[in-house]
């Protein structure tokens, strides 16, 4: 079971805010979770729930005016000879030596948009080689050979030719594979994949998911998979974190989240997904209303204006704490008694 797996990342009470003239936006608000080696944590939520900002906070690449307000991000850094050391990434200087050696090396990020996240004026090979040369001090020739191996591994046909091509010459699926090759180039302990397949077609998406799962099995790396696609979460993740407006509403093993969801938001979200198993022309159950504007956060429980189990006098007054509702299963809702 997973206790035998090593803890790679432990995030405690992470809060990130954006301070603007109009007010402060709490993009991530007190989120805590753990990621183990060889396992995948799925992070789900709709737009504006703070999932991408969270990934950026962990890697310390937030753009101003975003700043980390509180919390700790403990990462077990590999310091060679099978030794590891616990570091709090929040305490590090964002552009300092220590953080730069972790970012892109031990923790890497797969972006959503493979078109915009590659530089259009450098070849794929040079861009992947850059990370290898920086982190391992390899020379040009060694780095190039390593890039070809990597491209081969992620299933890019004819890698010796592709290595000298520019991003616009590759199709969406190949670009995403090149992106994955780049993320894996330095043998990371943790990969953060932010909507890795959203821009791709279903058949390509299936290829990429298959590849990521296979690579994870081979290398035992930990993964944080950020997506709004519940189908992908169900197939890839061991644990799931559900976020709404920056707050963690539910956290637990994938089986519990899908088969015994506790929070009304998780339940409603699962019910409202169109499925290929449904009866044609059947009405879907919906969540009323829409996601509130970040400057206009509801009081108390953030979900109460849209909730079907809203309890007047309680939900809009207090913030529900995150409490255990099952084995390794947490939810923040007043429906469940505190034990």
């Amino acid at each position: 079971m997973r206790d035998s797996e090593r803890l790679v990342l432990s995030v405690r009470d992470l809060s990130t805010e954006y301070v603007a003239d109009e007010g402060t936006v709490r993009a991530v608000d007190g989120v805590s979770f753990e990621v183990y080696s060889g396992q995948t944590l799925g992070i789900v939520g709709e737009s504006g729930c703070g999932k991408s900002v969270m990934a950026r906070s962990i890697l310390r690449i937030l753009e101003p005016p975003g700043r980390i307000a509180r919390g700790e991000v403990l990462f077990w850094q590999d310091i060679g000879n099978g030794q590891e050391r616990e570091v709090d990434l929040i305490q590090l200087d964002a552009s300092g030596e220590a953080m730069r050696s972790i970012r892109g090396g031990q923790i890497s990020l797969i972006f959503q948009e493979p078109m915009t996240s590659f530089s259009p004026v450098h070849t794929i090979g040079d861009q992947i080689a850059e990370a290898i040369r920086l982190h391992f001090g390899a020379n040009k020739q060694e780095a190039r050979e390593r890039v070809i191996d990597l491209l081969q591994m992620v299933g890019v046909p004819r890698p010796e030719g592709r290595v000298d091509e520019y991003p616009f010459q590759l199709s969406g699926g190949l670009r995403q594979r090149a992106m994955i090759a780049m993320a894996l180039s330095c043998g990371p302990r943790l990969v953060i994949a932010d909507e890795p397949t959203t821009a791709l077609d279903v058949t390509t998406q299936a290829q990429i998911m298959d590849l990521m799962r296979q690579l994870q099995e081979e290398r035992g790396m930990a993964m944080m998979l950020i997506t709004h696609n519940m189908g992908i979460i169900a197939e890839m993740a061991e644990d799931v974190l559900v976020m709404y407006l920056g707050r963690q509403v539910e956290y637990g093993p994938v089986g519990a989240i899908f088969h015994a969801p506790k929070h009304p938001y998780t339940k409603a979200l699962l019910r409202s997904i169109p499925s290929i198993h449904s009866t044609p022309r059947e009405r879907l159950p919906t969540i009323s209303g829409s996601i509130p504007h970040p400057y206009n956060r509801p009081s108390g429980c953030l979900f109460h204006p849209r909730c079907s189990s809203y309890m007047p006098g309680r939900c809009e007054q207090q913030e529900p704490p995150l409490i255990p509702v099952g084995s390794k299963h947490l939810a923040s809702c007043f429906l469940y008694p505190r034990v």
């Binding site: 737009s47 699926g173 279903v202 058949t203 899908f258 997904i273 290929i276 919906t286 996601i291």
Partner: protein, 365 residues
């Protein structure tokens, strides 16, 4: 032959749209992108025809040809107008199109870029009425109020600008604008793809409600098979500019006859960790419409392909009533579809289980 049978509202015959590839100083045409290649389909009044396919399969170009947003290269688009006369939209001159434009309307994918940020809702939704010189300002306002109510937005909002609305609300505005002129055919191009999951369901339900209330006919273009299953009566699957399969929705999903449809269905991730799908992984990439393989366009990726597929292009054949397939081996292959219908997969997988009820299943996998 300008005839439409019975209740058919729209019939597309042999539609082609080729875009030239130009090269060199003199912009010489060196090849053609066969975006839409010999497409035949029909839509009967009051039904929804879903059109699915991956990016580059020509589904959007097909929709745009039908509405004459682009001029087709060849073929007919027969449309039954309000007074029951049948016209060939593809053969009309631009100015002759005008009286028919209001009978066919489009809903766009991106509700953020398809609404003019400098116009109020009243102007946006009222514009089609103004352009077609229908009524004075007073009647226009009344009509906009009626339309906003119809799509579930409070009429008080009509003096506001689009930036004040969320994605789902903007899509409602786009729908209200499309409905302003009482069209009979609505072509919706990826109308819910840009929306959040919780809002998607609201818009899909709205489209179904409006269809019942107003007797609309939809052509629903999307890459999302789950969405298509929800709204369509019949589904057309496209690959590399060609229609590869057409059938009633339920039949297409449960008994696909084309290997591409089978692979497409198996690639959809199922939101249930206990049901691991038997995925058919397609090799390689979608065929390039500028450089198509010989024979069947799908054969390089098809796991059932035989020698004949490499040389001979298959035709679209009706192998079962109302079920058309473009495959040499359609009759002999036994392909796997999606588990037989019912929106309650989980309930069926776990008898006696209801949403929200606790059930200890231990750790999956």
């Amino acid at each position: 032959m300008n005839e439409l049978i019975g209740k058919v509202l729209l019939e597309v015959k042999g539609l082609r749209k080729f875009f030239p590839i130009r090269k060199g100083f003199f912009r010489k045409v060196v090849g053609w992108v066969r975006a839409v290649d010999d497409v035949n389909l029909y839509v009967t009044r009051g039904e929804t025809l879903g059109v699915v396919g991956e990016s580059g399969c020509g589904k959007t170009t097909l929709a745009r040809c039908i509405l004459r947003a682009v001029d087709p290269t060849d073929g007919q688009v027969l449309f039954r107008s309000e007074n029951e006369t049948v016209i060939d939209v593809a053969g009309l001159k631009r100015h002759e199109m005008r009286p028919f434009r209001r009978q066919m309307q489009m809903i766009f994918q991106d509700p953020f870029s398809s609404l003019n940020p400098r116009m109020t809702l009243l102007d946006i939704i009222g514009e089609p009425l103004l352009v077609n010189k229908m009524g004075d300002r007073r009647t226009r306002i009344d009509r906009v109020v009626e339309l906003l109510r119809l799509v579930g937005l409070p009429p008080e909002y009509m003096r506001r600008y689009p930036h004040a609305f969320s994605g789902g609300q903007r899509q409602r505005i786009g729908i209200a604008r499309a409905l302003a002129l009482n069209p009979s055919l609505i072509v919706a191009d990826e109308p819910v793809s840009a929306l959040d999951v919780s809002v998607q369901a609201q818009i899909l339900n709205l489209l179904l409600d409006l269809q019942e209330k107003l007797g609309l006919t939809y052509m629903f273009v999307t890459h999302d098979l789950s969405v298509v299953k929800h709204v369509s009566d019949r589904v057309t699957v496209m690959y590399a500019g060609k229609v590869v399969e057409v059938a009633k929705t339920k039949e297409l999903f449960s008994r696909p006859k084309h290997p591409y449809t089978e692979a497409l269905l198996s690639a959809v991730p199922i939101p249930d960790p206990h049901l691991q799908s038997q995925r058919i992984l397609l090799e390689g990439e979608v065929a390039d419409v500028a450089n198509l393989p010989p024979g069947c366009y799908f054969h390089p990726r098809c796991r059932y392909s035989i020698d004949r597929c490499k040389t001979e292009h298959p035709t679209l054949e009706e192998i079962l009533p109302q079920h058309f397939v473009r495959c040499h081996r359609a009759k002999e292959l036994r392909l796997v579809g999606v588990m037989e219908g019912s929106g309650k997969t989980l309930e069926r997988a776990l008898p006696g289980w209801e949403w929200g009820r606790d059930l200890d299943l231990g750790t999956p996998r």
